[in-house]
Amino acid sequence: MKKSDTLKGWALASPLLLVLLAFLLLPIAMIVVVSFWQATEFAIVPAFSFENYQFLFSSPVTYKVFWATLRYALITWALTLLIGFTVAYYLAFHIRSNAAQTALFLVCTIPFLTSNIIRMISWIPFLGRNGIANQTLIGMGVIEQPLEWLLYSDFSVILAFVHLYTLFMIVPIFNTMMRIDRALIEAARDNGASGWQILTNVIIPLSKPGIMIGTIFVLTLVMGDFITVRFMSGSQSANVGRLISNDIALLQYPSASATSVVLLVTVLLIIGALMRFVNIRKEL
């Protein structure tokens, strides 16, 4: 009886296991293997060489680009957290009726009915030198010369990131906030806590799992991106994703793999560190 239960458990888990094995673990293993290979201009040669890593770690470009990537991720994370938390808080605690909550939540997702790329590219005519933003500001007399830094700058890159990824923060935070027992807030109020104290002592600690999940989403999405940085910076800034895509375009698969492995390890380390702060599984 017991034995057949274990067997049943394995049988039930096996489809997922096989899918993960075939489509997640195997490709990653392949990338790790290829990262030790060597490449000529139009062929990759199986080998076991540390050359790719050696070049990667000895080049100042690598550090610069990893730092730039991390910086984009941190700034985007801070902004999406601020906006996401505020929106989720408003939805969860200020909107009383369930119907209105659902309706407003759906409103948040409306921009996501179009594709990522279209949402991003539509910023370009808006922010351009002769774009709507500049024309409006000039028309209002706020500025005399068009603002050059609106487009093809770090500003536009981060703007696009925030626009693209805030929802990934809103959803998990809203979700955990809805699970907070309202009696706790009432109890805090009865004990004389101010609104601010309730926020910092009750709501934020209880929303941590949501914040953490949102953080993981945003960090991994930003760290792995290459197209947003390319379009919004006008190819003038680099991040790790662009480094990898350049290598792929030049058929340097081993070098691209090595960079990917380093990126993967970096992201896993960051997430590992975050997990130490919050035990998501326990608190979900």
Binding site: E41, V61, Y152, R230, G234, S235, Q236, L250
Partner: protein, 421 residues
């Protein structure tokens, strides 16, 4: 039927070019067999046009399957997957990389009907007898091999051609004359502080580095031995000059795809940048003034051609030769020339163009009436003439051919540094 075919082929071998010329266009006895042939062609988007495949079906009866890829993928495929294609439509500098792999077979020029009429650039490298051969990977230098199985390039014309030239053009800077308001005559203007924040460069290392070199040489900063094959030191200096300009905010953006370059120019974000000729056309069709500015240092030029896969044989090989002869017989040439490119055999294309079109595109004369491309878009109004003038003015002023350098890998790394700077 098959026997007939073989007897004809042996006839061809003995009969030579003259006989081939008269025999090829005639209705073929094995016409039924050839209809079953499917040739798989792949190449860059420029000349991989569906119109060509349709016309092949109409005129020759067999099927041509086209796949358009970017030049990096084209190189990779030609080098690594010889059985995945029959015909490779590649650029000459790609040929330099791919030929040594042995995946392509040399073509017998005696079977090429219009061989004698092919422009000199692709044969001895000289457009006219007085021409000086430009730097870079000049097409003729990788256009011939010693024998059908040879893997090294021949120094002069032989009977064995690597690529049959199909399409080529001369590239320069594109400008917005309305926003600049003064004449531009040299490559150095790209880094002129006057255009701070309004210049752009293409972010494709192999071509971008050449545009950079044209600029640095024109500024008098660097004297190159060969812009198409720089030394490490030359690469360092070139990239250093542009990195400084980038840090000073000279560039608004870099572009990688054709439509990005069009949008940068049309929106006025950029007033001077490296550009390709159809992109100029695309800006103009929106009613925005844009000039493909001829510059005194000359053009950066590129050329493409058709190569045959090593594994092509029998009737499919015959079909491929027919396709090549058809390609050079004028219809495709006219089709491409009416978009602003040049054909390898201009005189056959002439029959497929109106005298007005021929005058505008080839002779550089003012248009007698409006000029439209094959898709019906208006490109020039009556009275306008082509930027840069006639074929001989433009192709005669080539300073450098697109190329692949010996220090390619080093250059690419420096290029990445430049983008990250």
């Amino acid at each position: 039927m098959s026997r007939m075919r073989f007897s004809r082929r042996s006839l061809l071998k003995t009969g030579g070019a003259a006989l081939a010329a008269s025999a090829l266009p005639a209705p073929m006895i094995w016409a039924q067999e050839i209809k079953d042939v499917t040739l798989r062609q792949f190449g860059t988007g420029v000349s991989n046009l569906n119109e060509v495949a349709q016309k092949v079906k109409e005129d020759l009866g067999f099927t041509l399957e086209m796949t358009a890829l970017d030049s990096d993928s084209v190189t990779q495929r030609a080098a690594t997957q010889p059985d995945s294609f029959d015909i490779a439509d590649i650029e000459y500098w790609i040929c330099k990389k791919v030929w040594p792999t042995g995946n392509l077979q040399a073509m017998d020029t005696s079977k090429i009907k219009n061989y004698d009429k092919i422009v000199g650039i692709f044969k001895d490298g000289k457009l006219t007898p007085e021409s000086v051969i430009a730097q870079g990977t000049a097409p003729h230098s990788v256009g011939f091999v010693e024998g059908p199985d040879s893997k090294t390039f021949a120094k002069e014309q032989t009977q064995w051609m690597t690529l049959i030239p199909t399409i080529y053009n001369a590239d320069t800077l594109g400008i917005r004359p309305d926003l600049i308001g003064r004449p531009i005559s040299t490559w150095a203007e790209l880094l002129n502080p006057e255009f701070k924040g309004k210049a752009s460069l293409l972010d494709i290392s192999s071509i971008g580095i050449m545009d950079m070199a044209m600029v640095c040489e024109s500024m008098g900063e660097i004297k190159y031995g060969d812009k198409g094959n720089m030394t490490k030191e030359e690469i360092d200096k070139t990239i250093a000059i542009f990195t400084e300009a980038k840090k000073n905010g000279q560039f608004r953006a870099f572009w990688k795809s054709f439509d990005e370059s069009v949008n940068l120019m049309a929106s006025g974000e950029v007033v001077i940048q490296s550009m390709w000729s159809p992109a100029i056309t695309a800006v103009k069709t929106r009613g925005i003034p844009c000039v493909y500015q001829p510059l005194k240092e000359g053009y950066r030029s590129w050329g493409g051609g058709i190569g045959l896969s090593k594994s092509l044989n029998g009737i499919a090989l015959d079909a491929a030769y027919e396709y090549i002869n058809w390609y050079l017989s004028g219809w495709v040439g006219g089709f491409l020339m009416r978009q602003g490119y040049y054909s390898a055999v201009p005189e056959t294309s002439k029959e497929f163009m109106t005298p007005n079109e021929w005058g505008y595109w080839f002779e550089g004369k003012p248009a007698a009436e409006d000029i439209a491309n094959p898709f019906g878009d208006l490109l020039a109004k009556a009275g306008e003439s082509r930027d840069g003038g006639s074929f001989y003015d433009r192709m005669g002023a080539v300073a450098c051919w697109n190329s692949v350098m010996d220090e390619n890998q080093y250059m690419v790394r420096k290029w990445n540094e430049f983008i990250a700077a």
